[in-house]
């Protein structure tokens, strides 16, 4: 894999991670933060796959698969917590 492609992809994903983190810090309500967390989980899945391609280690794909599963579970848990009562602001 040519290095400039890997570096460009790392750069794009890191900028997206910073932008999502800005929304996580600023987000006026709790659902905004949940959406930002979900985006951070999917960016991290992408970063792990790019790392696996960069270093040629195929078994890191398993980590990305597990992380994708866990991110969905976290979203479901947060939504259930919001809908069945819980702190409504922040």
């Amino acid at each position: 894999m040519s290095p400039w492609v890997i570096n460009t992809v790392y750069l794009l994903l890191c900028v997206s991670l910073i932008l999502a983190f800005a929304r996580l810090v600023r987000g006026p309500s709790l659902p905004d933060r949940v959406v930002a967390l979900e985006l951070i989980a999917s960016i991290t899945v992408g970063l792990i796959i790019v790392y696996a391609i960069h270093h040629g280690m195929a078994y890191f794909i398993d980590v990305a698969l597990v992380l994708a599963l866990t991110g969905f579970m976290a979203a479901v848990g947060f939504a259930r917590y919001l809908e069945r009562g819980g702190s409504r602001d922040e």
Partner: protein, 133 residues
């Protein structure tokens, strides 16, 4: 040739993820933010998984990449749906230039039920702060 496809899918996927992250910062309202993360973010993650399938020519890796792709594409709409539903019940304010809010007169936020006809007297519990911000 597989090198070219790997680079192409990696770059396009990362660009889509960046567009999704840009939208989550710039959009004015929770529903619009969710629209960018769900569509652009999920498509970007899926394309990066496809790039891994092109790079490692082994059956196990291809199956795992396709599993990640299917899982991301299947669960992103479900997660967005349940978060949007919970946020609407909580009363997250919509954008002040929102034109139509059909759920306001059809969704009973007390009983957690959705009706196909308009309600007789729409619940006015959090109607006042619905269009804040």
């Amino acid at each position: 040739m597989s090198e070219f496809f790997t680079a192409f899918f990696l770059l396009v996927g990362a660009a889509f993820v960046l567009i999704g992250a840009l939208g989550v910062v710039r959009m004015p309202d929770l529903m619009l933010r969710m629209h960018t993360t769900t569509k652009a973010g999920a498509l970007g993650g899926g394309l990066i998984a496809v790039a891994a399938a092109f790079y490692f020519p082994e059956a196990g890796v291809i199956v795992r990449s396709m599993a990640i792709l299917a899982f991301v594409v299947l669960t992103a709409p479900i997660a967005a749906h349940i978060i949007g539903r919970a946020a609407y019940f909580v009363g997250v304010p919509l954008w002040d230039r929102t034109l139509v809010d059909e759920l306001k007169e059809r969704l009973d936020t007390k009983e957690h039920r959705l009706y196909s006809q308009k309600l007789e007297d729409p619940p006015s519990a959090n109607e006042s702060d619905r269009h804040g911000d």
